[in-house]
């Protein structure tokens, strides 16, 4: 099987497993919505403040819940399963990219559900031409999937995985968070989103290169 066919198969299998388990749709997305609602309750009734912080809260919630998506049970292979994939000759990079692709799709769904909810709960003053900010947002989603998958693989099989992986991801994902959130701010003041698209794209590419370089030793470490 060729490399890209392997990537597609791994992503398809992950999405199929998620469709059956429903972990993201029935648990992570509702939990994310609750988190989105918790901020205004904590902030008080100052609607101007709530309106101002809406997009930022959306991105923080997305960053934190990305880990829930990457660490979902349906994407956690047991050692025996990993060994079988290795014996079958599945390229470690194809496995990593396939898993990242599946996570990126699920993060996209998460963002597509939570963004309208954020608009509903926070009524932010969206700038003219805000749909252009969807480009860095989508690119950020891809980057988040990459870094979260890397961390999930790095901590695979460890007792403290669910707490340790977010500690690794959050600092590394900051350029993505800055790029996505500042694009909207830039539009609000009539600026260009291009620098932020460049920042997020460069981060995505850097993460892709890192994935390519460490895929094989990562598989060896987690077997």
């Amino acid at each position: 099987m060729r490399f890209w066919s392997q990537v597609r198969e791994v992503a398809r299998r992950d999405l199929l497993a998620e469709q059956r388990a429903g972990e993201v749709v029935s648990i992570v997305i509702p939990f994310g919505a609750v988190a989105l609602m918790a901020f205004p309750l904590a902030l008080g009734i100052d609607s101007a403040v709530i309106s101002r912080v809406g997009p930022a809260v959306f991105w923080v919630v997305t960053l934190l819940f990305t880990m829930q998506i990457a660490l979902r049970n349906s994407a956690s292979d047991r050692p025996a399963h990993r060994a079988v994939l290795a014996l079958l000759g599945v390229d470690p990079l194809a496995r990593l990219l396939g898993r990242s692709l599946a996570s990126a799709v699920l993060i996209g769904i998460f963002m597509a559900v939570l963004f309208p909810l954020m608009v509903l709960f926070y009524t932010p003053d969206l700038p003219r031409g805000w749909p252009a900010a969807l480009i860095p947002a989508a690119l950020s989603g891809i980057g988040l999937a990459e870094v979260a998958t890397l961390a999930a693989e790095l901590t695979a099989g460890l007792r403290t995985r669910s707490t340790l992986a977010p500690l690794i991801v959050a600092p590394l994902a900051i350029p993505l968070l800055i790029g996505a959130s500042q694009a909207m701010e830039s539009l609000a003041v009539g600026g260009s989103i291009l620098p932020w698209v460049v920042l997020v794209t460069a981060t995505d590419l850097a993460l892709a290169v890192i994935s390519a370089l460490i895929a094989r030793p990562l598989e060896e470490a987690s077997l």
């Binding site: 890397l150 790095l154 901590t155 460890l158 007792r159 403290t160 340790l164 500690l167 690794i168 959050a170 600092p171 590394l172 900051i174 850097a206 890192i210 460490i214 030793p217 990562l218 060896e220 470490a221 987690s222």
Partner: protein, 237 residues
């Protein structure tokens, strides 16, 4: 069992260098605007540089562990990361105290250097946490070496953040095109840099040695004093 003589000599040298650096910092002239707070810079700037050095050593030792698979490289990577976290914490603490006096705020989100340094601190806390998740040193080294290599990309981001983003932090005072501080202050800072570098080397040597002894004792406890623990790798230090 005591530490080897050369480590004890290194520790004494470090203590003497630290005292000398303290005297140099106290005798250095103060900045006209910052006043006495400018003396904090003689600890803050070298601490930041040593944090970069320590994380660079961690990355290099991680690469070497992946190439050679000998315990000594893993011990070096782990020990240097611990010291990097220590120096980063010292840098954040001294920077915050200086900021409180000079900027009027202990923390400012508008300053990219502060924010990126704090993020670097947390990444290496994650590195140290990753090492503690398994009792098998080989497994810990295998995973940690990968994170040690990935995490070092934060170092240039922190260093160049003052050039890349606008913020409160001043730019580099020592640049290829010249130095923007008086010679007396520069000398005091370089003396403290040398002193803290000796402290780093002394602590690194002590920690690597201690880690080796800890591993030896654990192997002895598992196998019994009369039994030699099996060696899984060639060239173990």
């Amino acid at each position: 069992m005591k530490s080897p003589t050369w480590i004890r000599i290194l520790q004494l040298t470090a203590a003497a260098a630290l005292a000398f650096g303290l005297v140099a910092a106290l005798r250095a002239p103060v900045d006209a605007f910052q006043g006495e707070y400018s003396r904090i810079m003689h600890v803050h700037v070298p601490s930041s540089w040593l944090a970069f050095l320590a994380f660079g050593v961690t990355a290099l030792a991680s690469v070497m562990w992946r190439v050679r698979r000998t315990r000594r490289w893993d011990r070096l990577a782990a020990s240097s990361a611990e010291l990097g976290v220590l120096f980063t914490a010292l840098s954040l603490l001294t920077g915050s105290i200086w900021g409180g006096g000079v900027w009027g705020t202990y923390w400012d989100w508008a300053d990219p250097r502060m924010a990126t340094t704090a993020l670097m601190f947390f990444i290496y806390l994650g590195y140290l946490a990753l090492r503690r998740t398994t009792d098998d040193p080989q497994a810990a080294a295998s995973r940690a070496s990968l994170l040690g290599i990935i995490a070092v990309i934060q170092v240039p981001l922190v260093y160049f953040s003052v050039n890349l983003f606008r913020g409160l932090h001043q730019g580099q005072s020592i640049r290829p095109d010249g130095v923007t501080m008086p010679t007396e202050m520069l000398m005091a800072m370089l003396i403290n840099l040398a002193a803290l570098t000796i402290v780093y080397v002394a602590l690194l040597a002590s920690r690597v040695h201690l880690m080796g002894r800890e591993e030896g004792r654990e192997a002895e406890a598992v196998a019994g004093a009369g039994v030699v623990a099996p060696r899984l790798e060639v060239g173990d230090a």
